[in-house]
Each structure stands twice: as structure tokens, then as C-alpha cells.
Amino acid sequence: MDHKDYSILIVDDEPIVRDSLGKWFSEEGYLVETACDGGAALDRLAQRNYDLIFLDIKMPGMSGLELQRKIRTINADATVVIITAFASVDTAVEALKDGAHDYITKPIDPDYLSHLVEKLVRQRSLVAENTELKERLVGMAGRGSILGESPAIQKLRDMIATVAPNDTTVMIRGESGTGKELIARAIHAGSPRRYRPIVPINCGGLSETLLESELFGHERGAFTGAQFRRKGHLEMADGGTVFFDEIGNVSAKIQMDLLRVIESREFFRVGGNTPVKSDFRIISATNRDLEAAVAAGSFREDLYYRLNVFSISVPPLRERDEDVVLLAQHFLSKYAASMNREFTGFAPEALEALRRHRWPGNVRELENAIERAVVVGTPPTVSAANLPISAPREDGPADEMSLESVEVAHIRRVLEKCEGNVMRAAKTLGIDRVTLYNKIKKFNLPR
């Protein structure tokens, strides 16, 4: 950024100081204005904001410290530097406590002044850049990142817009691969907590002991191998959002611990005696029928009500046919660009195959299918043969099957096709290896 983009206001009752300092900054190329007292400074500040304000501490009428307090309310972003004739520790401390960035003693060493201003300008430039990047990041993770034109997706976007700005606890329901974490991130991005972290925790993929340590952190020596104190995810999410993925899979003990944390926002690190406070919003997600789990006694009813304050259901991809091609085109552009392959679209039979497929792995399966097609296909168009979805859409008996039966049948089929190779099967299914192992165990499937 050019110096002329930075504005400096010099407030001093001595004309010689205003002129001399003003001239010095003008030679540096800054936009400089001066004011002879607090009143004149406030008039200037009513006209425009300044990046840097140099403020004489002793002025007739309103003192520099008093003016500094007023500036905090009018031009809070301005960096204030106090100018004083005598180095007084008390005054300097008071000014710094009130938010002044620094103080300088008259006469000023030009070398010091030059470096100070350069440093402040660089700092402001970094802050501006940081804010812009954060906004851009928030934009990327916001509602705009949820693609689709179907009524179901439009309704979903409306629900996110409604719930995001409030601190309400949200539960996201939906099948595996529907993009529940993306929804959680969009809610976080639309909330006042957006500049603080969102910390995802996969509750389904960790053992009870490991999950406890991940959630609450641990003290040094809490268990074998705990050589250092470690912050848990709940502590790291302070000021932000914690996202419990696969919340339906947590053990009874963790459910009880979570209930206590949700009520008090206070917990102990594993092996610790001091309570740790953390302020976080809770978003959880599950693909399980939690109501059934509550009825069966495997999920605590009180925790269920605590988590299910605002429920959002993410529709499976098969219920939003009109979005399949749009999403496929998006993934094609994404992977073609990242792999530098010049794909422009899909052959008609490939589009037909995409529309006919049931997408049991939902958006994740579609994304994986397109990524694979970009790898194996020949530009410029993706053919049906490039898509790993040769099986025709099963509209018949599957419509009468329960979701769990469809899931079991599909996992069994993919495992057979992959000759029992869990890693390959997990990749095809678009889920991680640990989740597949859990499902194999749960459904007692052969490998």
C-alpha cells in the first residue's frame, strides 16, 4: 500500500510542532492534517477517519488523554501515538492503558519516528489484509458454499441463515456423505463467532479413552506417554464453535461428561484438578436415528434434548435430482483445474448415468466419482465409462427397503468388489477407514 493511502492527524497546540511534524510526514508522502486542540481535532474526526493520530498530551482545554478516550468512541480503528515534552512514566502508562500504541518524547529522533511509523503502517496494512482474508474465508465457508438449486437446498440455506446469527445449539441430521460438516461450517461462518475457530471432533472414529483426552485435553503425566499438558478440543474452541460429528456413536460415559460440560461450560483436563472454562457454541451431527436410540436407552434423553434445540435435516442426493448435474459440473471444474486436465463437460450418456444413479454415498460419492473420472478420463468430456457407477438405478425393491438394509447391502457389495480390501472399499464408499471398520463390526459383515 502506498503512503498516500495513509492519513495522519497531528494534534498539538504548538504551531511549530504541527508544522514541523506535518512537513516531515508530507515529505514521506502521507496525507497529513493538523489540529491545534481537542475541539479542532474532534471537528476533523467528524469529517473523516484517520489511520494514525499523533496526540500532544498537554494541551489547553481538553487534555490529550481525554481526547484519546473520545477518539476511542469516534475512530476506534485509529492508532494513537502520544507526544509528550517530558517522559513521564505515569502519564505514559495511563495513555497506554487507554489504548495508545506508543508514546514519543519531544524532540523526536527522526530515525525512531521513521521506524515507528513504518512499523505502524505495516501493522495496519497486515490487519487490513488479515480482515480481508478472513472475510474471504468466511465467504468461502458460508451459505454460498452449499451448492444446489433444488427447493430442498434452498430451504436448507434459509434455515442456516435463520439459525447462524443466534447462539442456538444445532443438530444436523442426514445420511453419510450429505455434507453435514459443510452445513456446520456455514452456520459457524454466519455467526458472530466466525473469526474464532470451529473445531470438529469425529466422535465415531475414536475409542472412549482417546475421545475423552481429545475432548478435555490432559495434564502432564495423566497417563503413559502424556509428556506434556495438552489442550483439548473444547478448550481450543473457546470463543468459537465445536462440531460433534457422529454424536450418536459416543459411549454412555462420554454422554454423561458432555451433558455436564454443556450445562456448565466447565470441565477438567484428564488427570487435572483445576476446572477449565470454555465458551463455545455446539453443533452436532448424526446419521443415526437418535429418537430410536433414546427409546432403546443407548442415548441419554437429557443429552438428546440439550443437543437437539434446532434441528436441520440435510436431504440425501437422491431426493434432489435437479442438483446432481450442477454438483457434478462443479466437481468437474474443481478437479480439472487442480489436476490441470482440460475437461469442459459430460457426454450425454454420462449425464444420463449421473441422473439415474441412486447415490447411496450422497455428495461425497458423487465427488469421488467425478475425481476418479478426471483421473481416468480423456478430455474434453467425461464419458459414462469413466464413471464408477455402471449399475442402473434401483427404483424397484430398494424403495421398500429400510435405509440400514440398503446400507448393509451396498457395503457388502463394495467389499466383495474390492475383495475385502477395506481401504479401497472405504475410498469407493466415500467414507473413512475407521467408519467402515465400525460399520463392518456393527453389521457383522464378512471381510
Partner: protein, 187 residues
């Protein structure tokens, strides 16, 4: 003012302001001519800076010297560059190497802090001469309305200590050079 001091518009008149080394000033005029392609001469008169002395600081107020040089400017307008051996200050700053009137005819430069011996080194006339030339062009650049430049090597880069002056040359970057040429040829 002597007739020989009446230079044409855009020319440079170097005025000794308590400057003992006239040979240094003669060399400066030659170097200025070579660098800026404008005629430069040493004035036949000099200016005592005593009126600008501030006893408490033991330094001389550059703004006051500048104002006096402005009062003695010639007609037609000439750049008037005071060169002094005394230590200069601007009221709010502890020292300055020089000062100039933005878009004005007058500038002043001090050799006091350009001398290597001030920093415990052996005297070096070559270094002093080069630093004086660079700072003179810098201040004359301000009279053409130039602010500090960020192009590596350009004389218009701001300097707050002597070694910083050594990192730049007497030459101006393309943009600053264009401005100086345009301003110095204005009648």
C-alpha cells in the same frame, strides 16, 4: 547580490552558510550539473547562520535558515541550496540532514552528520562529497514537489542515518527524474 549569481530559471545557486570547505562546494556544483543537467554555481556571498542558533540545543534551526534563503532568492527564480557545516534541527526533531520547501525554491543541507569522523571513523573526503551530493539532490527533489520514493537506489528514498545515504545513489528513478526535469525547466 552579484550579477554572476543571477542564473536563469531552473539553475542552481549553492550558498555557503558557514561552510569552510569551498572546494567541496565547487565539486558539488560540478556533480549537480552532471547529474541534473542544470547549471550550478557557488554564490559570491555567504550567509551566517547565527540568527538560527538555539543555545540550549547547540544546534541551528533549519526552518529559519530556509526562510532566510527564500528571502534572498534571485529573480528569475533559481533553486537556492544552502550548504552548512553546522548541525541542523527541525523544531520537533532531534536533527535533520537537510530541509527543503516543497514546491519552493529553497533548500538547505548540513555536512555535520555526513562526516565519517562524527561516527569515530577516519575522515574521508570522497564519502563526504558523495553523501553531500546525494542529500543535495534529495532536498532539491523536494523543491520539485517530490515526496520520498521507494525505488531502490533512487536519491529520493528517505534517510535518517548516514549509512542509509550510502545505500542510494545520486541518480533519480525514472518517475522522480521526469518530475525534476519538468519542474526545473518551468519558467
Amino acid at each position: 547580490m552579484a550579477d554572476s549569481d543571477r542564473a536563469s530559471g531552473g539553475d542552481i545557486l549553492v550558498v555557503p552558510v558557514d561552510c569552510a570547505n569551498l572546494a567541496l562546494l565547487q565539486r558539488l556544483t560540478i556533480d549537480l550539473q552532471a547529474t541534473l543537467a542544470r547549471a550550478a554555481t557557488v554564490a559570491s556571498w555567504d550567509l551566517s547562520p547565527q540568527f538560527a542558533r538555539e543555545a540550549a540545543r547547540g544546534q541551528y534551526n533549519s526552518s529559519m535558515i530556509l526562510a532566510e534563503l527564500f528571502n534572498r532568492r534571485s529573480d528569475p527564480p533559481t533553486r537556492i541550496l544552502g550548504v552548512t557545516d553546522v548541525d541542523l534541527f527541525a523544531p520537533v526533531l532531534t536533527y535533520v540532514f537537510g530541509e527543503a520547501q516543497m514546491h519552493g525554491p529553497a533548500a538547505v543541507v548540513s555536512t555535520f552528520r555526513l562526516r565519517p569522523e562524527l561516527y569515530g571513523l577516519d575522515p574521508d573526503p570522497e564519502i563526504l562529497s558523495r553523501r553531500l551530493l546525494v542529500e543535495s539532490i534529495h532536498e532539491l527533489g523536494h523543491t520539485a514537489g517530490l515526496t520520498h520514493c521507494h525505488t531502490p537506489g533512487c536519491a529520493m528514498i528517505g534517510s535518517t542515518y548516514a549509512e542509509e545515504i550510502d545505500l542510494k545513489g545520486p541518480g533519480l528513478c525514472e518517475r522522480c527524474g521526469d518530475v525534476v526535469r519538468a519542474e526545473f525547466t518551468k519558467k
